[in-house]
Symmetry: D2
Subunit: 340 residues, 4 copies
Amino acid sequence: MISFRNDYAQGAHPAVLDALLRTNLESTPGYGEDRYCQQAAQTVRSRFACPQADVHFLVGGTQTNFTAIAAFLRPWEAVIAADTGHIAVHETGAVEARGHKVLTAPHVNGKLTPEAIREVCAAHAAGNPGHMVLPKMVYISDATELGTIYSKIELEALRTVCDQLGLYLYLDGARMGAALTAEGNDLLPKDFPRLCDAFYIGGTKNGLLFGECLVIVNQALRPNFRFALKQGGGMLAKGRLLGLQFQAILENDLWLKLARHANFQAQRLQAGVLQAGYSLYISSPTNQIFPIFSKEKLARLEQSFSFEFTQRIDESHDAIRLVTSWATEPTWVDAFLAAI
Amino acid sequence: MISFRNDYAQGAHPAVLDALLRTNLESTPGYGEDRYCQQAAQTVRSRFACPQADVHFLVGGTQTNFTAIAAFLRPWEAVIAADTGHIAVHETGAVEARGHKVLTAPHVNGKLTPEAIREVCAAHAAGNPGHMVLPKMVYISDATELGTIYSKIELEALRTVCDQLGLYLYLDGARMGAALTAEGNDLLPKDFPRLCDAFYIGGTKNGLLFGECLVIVNQALRPNFRFALKQGGGMLAKGRLLGLQFQAILENDLWLKLARHANFQAQRLQAGVLQAGYSLYISSPTNQIFPIFSKEKLARLEQSFSFEFTQRIDESHDAIRLVTSWATEPTWVDAFLAAI
Amino acid sequence: MISFRNDYAQGAHPAVLDALLRTNLESTPGYGEDRYCQQAAQTVRSRFACPQADVHFLVGGTQTNFTAIAAFLRPWEAVIAADTGHIAVHETGAVEARGHKVLTAPHVNGKLTPEAIREVCAAHAAGNPGHMVLPKMVYISDATELGTIYSKIELEALRTVCDQLGLYLYLDGARMGAALTAEGNDLLPKDFPRLCDAFYIGGTKNGLLFGECLVIVNQALRPNFRFALKQGGGMLAKGRLLGLQFQAILENDLWLKLARHANFQAQRLQAGVLQAGYSLYISSPTNQIFPIFSKEKLARLEQSFSFEFTQRIDESHDAIRLVTSWATEPTWVDAFLAAI
Amino acid sequence: MISFRNDYAQGAHPAVLDALLRTNLESTPGYGEDRYCQQAAQTVRSRFACPQADVHFLVGGTQTNFTAIAAFLRPWEAVIAADTGHIAVHETGAVEARGHKVLTAPHVNGKLTPEAIREVCAAHAAGNPGHMVLPKMVYISDATELGTIYSKIELEALRTVCDQLGLYLYLDGARMGAALTAEGNDLLPKDFPRLCDAFYIGGTKNGLLFGECLVIVNQALRPNFRFALKQGGGMLAKGRLLGLQFQAILENDLWLKLARHANFQAQRLQAGVLQAGYSLYISSPTNQIFPIFSKEKLARLEQSFSFEFTQRIDESHDAIRLVTSWATEPTWVDAFLAAI
């Protein structure tokens, strides 16, 4: 059984494991206050050109999102997300469990638009202040849940609308590596701290055993964040495991190399699917693609490949999601294209 | 610098790392729905003689505590803990952040007593129902924050009072291995599901990279727990890492062997300290000990050893905490005893 | 300035004030444990034919909604509401502040449909359990935010879908009096406990100084509700004020008489507006109506009448909301119709 | 049956009712945006010499406390209260339900001391930042739960310690009238805004049907408070009822006259009890007193008087609480003193 189910089906890249093995018996302080975390934080600040930013390492994406949002917002403030956004749909109400409403706006190719943000804010500015939540943060993902990416001009436009409306811009980079190495991308690492108040660099979906790196740029959002980290369950006892892993993939831009591999295999799949005459639910330049097959075909494919259902298309057709990772073997792609 | 600072200063036991390395490139379903988690859960059910229990794997202790408590209690229900309890002091209000009051009672050697529980409940039963929180759960740790352990008769007495007062009994086993292998312990693994509604088996402090194993015995507390897991940020994407690690230490009772080693080294420290004429803040049979030294002596010791301050004793003396682990070298203990 | 702004612009009906004055110097127990609350609860049980139901009196609608929802749901459970629903839009995220997601579905004339509920539940049943919130409650209002009402067949259909999908049905009756006395209504008070798990009877918008009466029919939702009441700030010290006021309007069905008056005056407005050639944003049989006027006309009307803006229609036209109450003078309606 | 059970057993002072009756049929904007609330807010600012303060009117004390605390604190911040404090004991965990830990310190005559605050803060400053909650607010009541009052020098000392430790000082004035008119009091209304960051003036226990007036002095705590008000269920639809009632008791200092009457009758009770040879649980200068009687005597007293049990003293004696109000008839006191 070949898995295109997700980008966290395997363990870690060998370079990551090496870093853990090499240091296994060293004694270091806990909770991220060790030299490896400090080094990795410094590497992040340097690679992303944000020498003043606060850098925190957490275990998972849902945890990072709810911890950041709960720390940044006041009780009556809400976060705006695309209706396909991860926090809106796939985090079991974790943001609401910490007290905040997620306001959704219709996505365009998985992306949030300045117009949609303006509409949400306008609707909430009507009437007497106090009777509706106060929109205060914009949440986006790059790459998005549909595999699409933001262009520099799009991200700058979001920054502009956030500045105009007094909103924080927070970027979920669970698949930031895939976005940065996608065909058509014109964003650079240094653009994220320039345009966002905070963002996170995904590790789990890009070669780590686990780990997400939260970068807080806006000075107003930094104080006492370690309290939020502990309260949210995100302060790992053996914190150095996070620093070591991130350092391992940031060195020599291994993270981009891994993401490029994943994208390349996914794009081989997407091209092959199109060439074979099938259509797509949406065209994606990253490591998630969304082909449409007949139910009959899917029944046969499921005998050799695992993947997730995305959307019913019509009575006899469904869209599925195929995901590749740093560990995807080219022969797996060959096998899939041969099978369709 | 030799570290007696905590039991999570090093990485993982080689058997644990081997398990991760051996399976690194396998593709498995995410979120704990893989065969390694299933196998480890089965091993837990078997080793703890609770064939019907639900077994969940989480990353850390604070996360496990707040997720379980938030899932088990209704909004107005409270949890009773010793005033030294981890949830009461050292989790940055994580339980309160999910809406529940932690009612504290004075500890006796780090332990909660039936009398203290009865008193809290009696105080909350006075007056009209509804004006005070409703005590509904007892939280204890074995070993405790002070390194002490519960005897079978003590744990049975807590069960009895919980039955009488309609309380759940929840046991934080972050250091369960140390408790079960301590001199004087008469509890067996099978006693925990017999006497507790839920408990967790600590991995982080006993040879894993990370991981806690929550066992839910009480049938009423089981439904939909995976929703709570996800909402609390405790559902690890590469969930198999948890199953693999727990399976590695449960096989051949490696967890008890590791804990026995830690206890043995700590007891060598405690005996040596006493023999050298120093006194103890509290006598502990497990892997945390609490000697008292003069501030002068501590200043000198700090040049070669790292440890935590526990309590001011008088103008010129402090109690400190020395913690050992599976990775503590006997020569470290020798060196400390030579230095005092 | 004549107010059609809302149905809480004036004080209380004289019969309500009389009840308060008559008993002002009596000494009674606090927090709703007095004989007047007991009597009013008994009257409610009798008038609504639910002899076993629990009856609680609260001060306001937002308070009643969030207290009930927080008490009824587990942390990962969500409530489904129309996208126009009061809890979804106009309660400043009070439900989310207590930890629960409000899932919205497109309204049809302000109403939630069985089809919309089925769609929300189907979307949340896809994929692995635990990654999305669990829909567990349906929230509706009768009359709705758009003044429309549910027919008996519609409410029965909602009950059926709730039974099929394991959902609670909760009805916000802030304007229940208006609904029950509207032309076309075929629901009776006894239908609410028959079809709903819980509902509230609005007092604030129907002649009381303040007060909402929550009726909990489903036995599983009743235990310990007074704890929720106190925790939510809804347990009034001089609780008898609530019992006295509700008793005053329930006696001789004064509540229906007051609502009928409000409806009658609103329907005079609606008929007059139509007769004068204006159109409606939506046709409503209750005490809120939604005429469309040109901005010029509105500018002139605002000099003598106060009302709320509802919706921009086009460049030169807006829909407004006119609300009547038990205290609306027929001459106010005459004046408005003369002015248009 | 004569009630000494509490100070909210009766309705409202006639001047309060007159204000409601006189304006009953007027139409005003809702939610506290009417001229009566504006006038009352202005009266408060003037009477308390805080021309810049924000003034909000809420319905009840628990609601006021949790709304203010939730609005003022960040998620990891905690509030320090005496172990007898109302928020610590008698609000069903309402503060925790909004996410905040209440740290308790031993009371001295019902009061919190600078030393106790320093100790709590010192204990929470030990160790690494982030692992314990951050104390950020001091909560006190004047008069306290035991009827005692703070002197000016005591309140100034609390302000000093708050300034030194970076804490907000919040004062629950549910019985502020009783405190200000007690023998031995040297605080003036103008001292509260001078020394507190926020405080509330109690109405429910001093002649209103209901109502508490929150005064926010610290500019940093003011923005967007109306959102918190609505979210907490504290924004009364017919908000003018609150402004009207407060204006009625603030005019000509009626609030102090009513409190003085209550104190006078309670002090007659206390003096009579002492003169008859009974002892007190604590000596109180305000409208709550705490005599000790034999259980036999209490059994007889309960046939004619209602009161609350406070504390078991020994096998045969209990302390009870007797509370007087603006509505307590002198003959009730005569009757009680005759009966003992």
